[in-house]
């Protein structure tokens, strides 16, 4: 696939369709790829990479890139196309300035998961029929491929591209919630007692170091000035000085993207403390589906977002008191 992509990129650059390509750049090791913009065929030949580790969603960069001179080629995985579409819908990306080539998605690998197994000193990773052969400083190690895939890929919601100008490889299908199991963990939490839920989230959120990686990587978080950075908001803070502030930041952040979050999972992927932040977003998605009908952000560019909409027969907030476990 990488070769097909490189050829496609060089061809589109050569025929003038685009003047830049956004993709991923090779790093020092096998796994540390960086999203990057390429301008020449030479740069692409030297550094362009698309492999098991190119999980980063490049959609958000297109907010800026699509406002620059000329057209840019973006390689988007199925999940990335949802973020892209949502940003187009919100008029954050200038659609005409992006040439979207859909590429097959994951599952992608998570180097942290390999390291968590105690496999360190990683020099090379190869997938051989579902087994990862990992070359390390301490000899070769193996582990099952599925145990090393990224959290966000474990519960993949769709292999279908919702937007593209051209497709490389075959188109896939949307995966139902039952099949993907993406709400399973949310449900599990809902079925705990309030005290258990509280304890769970306290343990998770107290790990937060407020690095803002989740916010800054999030394709739905594109405010020019975040309320948490704005001294005039009265709640700006750099670090959680109290457990309340840890809760507040994550509640408000999740709330702000409710109905716009496409469940791309980048927040959890980048969290240095492995906080399962996507569960907060999924809770909102699950509630929206249950209360206001199935809705997938980014699926289209025309429908009204659930929080910008209403129905006269909507349920009352008291429904929260009537459901589930106290």
């Amino acid at each position: 696939m990488q070769e097909a992509m490189i050829n496609k990129a060089k061809q589109l650059l050569a025929d003038g369709t685009v003047n830049r390509v956004i993709g991923w750049k090779r790093g020092e090791f096998v796994y540390d790829i960086t999203p990057a913009v390429f301008e020449t065929a030479e740069e692409i030949d030297a550094d362009f990479v698309c492999d098991d580790f190119t999980a980063a969603n490049v959609s958000k960069y297109l907010v800026k890139e699509s406002r620059k001179e000329g057209k840019i080629l973006a390689f988007l995985k199925p999940c990335d196309t949802y973020s892209f579409n949502q940003l187009v819908k919100e008029h954050r990306i200038v659609r005409e300035n992006v040439y979207v080539v859909g590429i097959p998605g994951g599952p992608k690998l998570d180097a942290e998961k390999i390291k968590a197994k105690g496999i360190t000193g990683i020099l090379g990773v190869k997938n051989e029929n579902g087994t990862l052969k990992i070359d390390t400083l301490y000899g070769e190690e193996t582990m099952p491929y599925y145990e090393a895939i990224l959290g966000k890929c474990e519960t993949c919601k769709s292999r279908k591209h919702v937007v593209y100008d051209e497709l490389l490889g075959e188109e896939g299908e949307v995966i139902s919630a039952e099949d993907s199991g993406r709400f399973d963990m949310v449900e599990k939490l809902e079925n705990m007692t309030a005290q258990e839920r509280y304890d769970f989230w306290r343990e998770q959120l107290s790990k937060c170091i407020r690095c803002n990686a989740c916010r800054n990587v999030c394709p739905a978080c594109t405010c020019e000035n975040c309320v948490f950075d704005n001294p005039a908001s009265g709640i700006s803070n750099k670090a959680a000085a109290d457990s309340f502030e840890e809760n507040m930041f994550h509640i408000i952040r999740a709330f702000h993207v409710a109905g716009r979050c496409t469940d791309c999972g980048e927040c959890s992927r980048v969290c240095p403390q492995n906080i399962p932040l996507h569960l907060l977003n999924r809770k909102f998605i699950k509630d929206i589906n249950a209360f206001y009908g199935e809705y997938q952000a980014g699926e289209d560019t025309t429908s009204r977002a659930p929080l910008n909409n209403y129905d006269k027969d909507d349920c009352e907030p008291s429904i929260v008191h009537e459901r589930g476990v106290e």
């Binding site: 309030a194 839920r197 309340f244 507040m248 709330f255 509630d287 909409n309 006269k312 909507d314 008291s318």
Partner: protein, 148 residues
């Protein structure tokens, strides 16, 4: 659920009331000489829809033990549709607070019209009693704001 730590505990209740219905309802309960608990601090807002989720969290931060939001009955909004948006928003917020393990009886939404002075007083009484039973807010509290 939390056990009441202090038998003399008096909760602080913040009530966000829409200017057109609920605030007038509160007024009416006053002119009708109906009693409602002094624990309730009313914050008047132009429309229930004005209430940002942050307001509710901030009320808890600054010492509220319970937060109630009152607005016009659905369909009666002074601004036609404000409370319909409120309803969705607050449903989701309360559900999220519940998800995080915050006691669900600390939050409430009630539609109170300008004619429902009695309902206002009764609702406040009921809500205050429910929060008093829960005890002080500990799960969504900012320790820095606690009075020593």
């Amino acid at each position: 659920m939390q056990v009441n730590e202090n038998t003399n505990f008096e909760p602080v209740i913040v009530a966000f009331c829409c200017n057109w219905c609920s605030y007038a309802g509160a007024d009416l309960s006053g002119t009708n000489r109906l009693n409602y608990p002094t624990n309730v601090k009313i914050i008047r807002v132009p429309c229930s829809c004005r209430v940002n989720p942050m307001f509710i969290l901030r009320a808890f931060q600054k010492g509220a033990d319970g937060v109630i939001l009152c607005g016009c009955h659905p369909g009666d909004c002074h601004y036609t549709s404000g409370n319909y948006f409120t309803r969705r928003r607050i449903t989701l917020l309360y559900s999220m607070l519940d998800f995080l393990g915050i006691e669900r009886d600390r939050t409430r939404l009630e539609w109170v019209s300008a004619a429902e002075g009695a309902k206002f007083a009764a609702t406040m009484q009921e809500f205050t009693d429910a929060v008093r039973k829960l005890g002080p807010n500990r799960r969504l509290e900012d320790l820095r704001c606690r009075k020593q």
